[in-house]
Amino acid sequence: MPDFSILITHGVFHLFAALITLCSLMVVVSKHPVKSAVFLVVDLFLLAGLYASLDSHFVAAIQVLVYAGAILVLFLFVIMLLNLQPEELKGLKFSAVEAGTLVISLIGFLITIVTAFKGDQTGLGDGSLDPAAIETAGGNTYVVAMKLLTNYIWPFELASILILMAIVAAIVIAKKDQKKPAAQ
């Protein structure tokens, strides 16, 4: 019954896509920052579900672990620390109609570009790593790890240096200015 499975995959995709779009919209238009952050968590979780449906289990797990589990907690902490109140959405420089028109035209423009001008796809990938090949090569995680630690070893090391710099920078920026003890 091939039709049945196609029905399920399409149904799941469309359900997820609708929920993701809705959550993204709520992230952008919610007045309260905490509400936005919670919708963003749900959004990231659903996106991880889509990654999993694309056979990218490792990326899906990392998405939830790093994005939803670490970065968004940081956002939530800062929002609560600063005790941010709901934002006044009135008095924007653009009216809702203008903004809506802009967004919709932007969406239309992007979709047109993406679907109409695909360009030449030859040479992008030889299709050698379709799901079956990945499965025989030792699973998605293994293949990604091999790629990451051979072809991309220098970017990988650079990323670790970037993280170190970000840690130091964040601490230096956020640290309270300590008053120097008076010289005596």
Binding site: V34, V38, V41, A61, G69
Partner: protein, 360 residues
């Protein structure tokens, strides 16, 4: 997927059944643990503990006390504080229970069943990155606590929730790091494969990587906000922590989340360090062929895992009534200054030894 329609149907039905069984099992844990947490310290302190409530004349060691408590808790009046953020206030218990239940679905509760012409794994969600899945979802548990404290509009709740979530984030790192050496040793992220690799007594994680086990044990107590790291609920300082303003069924939901979280980590500890469903000196996977009944191995494996998990649950209670509470700065310096460096050293050492063994 590579499944035929029949196989798909069987897997689908099997998943539903497994889901029902696991969810039902998890719901039994809080009442049992509440009972155990009153009877065990009573035993240790040579007093009786609750032993009156029973059905008719059978008292069964006061086991029905939990039932009575549950009924009382659910039928209490529900009070919502006036200044609360209503939507988040009602959602927070859900955020707290959902991750715990989702993780429990990924634990392998027994060896695969070969039946009906297909292979039925004994975990509800079988993913090849089960280990990462568990950590990813458990990192979501912070939200329930943070949002609960913030939405109650109470300064004690907020302080308690910030304490608890900072503690959980800090100890997630050593918890994850302590499990990397076993993953390196067994060479898989799939929990079922990790268990299958521990098919001999001396191949258990606790013997191959003892330092990891110690780190995991400490981080496990901190991650679930249990004594001696239960600063979030420090009664004397914070009233009761993040759930001060919660009453009735929502209060019970936080307890459910906490106890299920404890149970899941106990199962994880058994899986990674004590061979999961493997019984020492017996090949569990062969039991089906030996006895001729399908499912014998699954039942034996499951009971073994539950016994091992019970030991850890008992350990939780034992430690709670033995060790005094840490101070907050002690907790943080233990986590960041001792456990994370030790965890890193442990990972590097394990990797070097493994490389030396494999490439020599």
């Amino acid at each position: 997927m590579g499944l035929t329609a029949d196989e798909f149907t069987i897997q689908f039905i099997a998943t539903l059944i497994k889901f029902a069984i696991v969810a039902g099992l998890l719901l039994q844990i809080p009442p049992l643990m509440v009972w155990a947490e009153r009877r065990i310290p009573a035993m240790m302190q040579r007093r009786k503990g609750p032993n009156r409530v029973g059905i008719f004349k059978w008292r069964i060691y006061g086991l029905m006390q939990s039932l009575a408590d549950t009924i009382k808790l659910i039928f209490k009046e529900e009070v919502v504080p006036e200044g609360a953020q209503k939507a988040f206030y009602h959602l927070a218990p859900v955020f707290s229970v959902f991750p715990a239940f989702l993780i429990a679905m990924a634990i392998p509760y027994g060896p695969d069943i070969h039946a009906f012409g297909t292979i039925i794994p004994l975990s509800v969600i079988r993913v090849d990155v089960g280990f990462l899945f568990i950590f990813a979802v458990s990192s979501l548990a912070v939200y329930g606590i943070t949002i609960a404290g913030w939405a109650s509009n109470n300064k004690y709740s907020l302080l308690g929730s910030l304490r608890a979530s900072a503690q959980m984030i800090s100890y997630e790192i050593p918890l994850g790091m302590s499990l990397i050496p076993p993953v390196l040793i067994y060479g898989s992220l799939d929990l079922n494969k990790i268990v299958e690799a521990q098919n001999h007594f001396w191949k258990w994680g606790v013997f191959l990587s003892p330092l990891s086990f110690v780190l995991f044990l400490i981080a496990m107590f901190a991650e679930t906000n249990r004594a001696p790291f239960d600063l979030a609920e420090a009664e004397g300082e914070l009233v009761a922590g993040f759930h001060t303003e919660y009453t009735s069924a929502k209060f019970a939901a936080f307890f459910l989340g906490e106890y299920v979280g404890m149970f899941v980590l106990s199962c994880l500890a058994s899986t990674m360090f004590f061979g999961g469903w493997q019984i020492p000196f017996i090949d569990v996977q062969k039991l089906d062929e030996l006895t001729g009944f399908i499912g014998v191995s699954a039942i034996f494996g499951h009971v073994t895992l539950m016994l091992k998990a019970t030991f850890f649950m008992w350990l939780y209670v034992w430690v709670r009534w033995t060790v005094p509470r840490f101070r907050y700065d002690q907790l943080m310096s233990l986590g960041w200054k001792y456990m994370i460096p030790l965890g890193l050293v442990n990972v590097v050492l394990t990797a070097v030894v493994l490389a030396a063994v494999r490439f020599s």
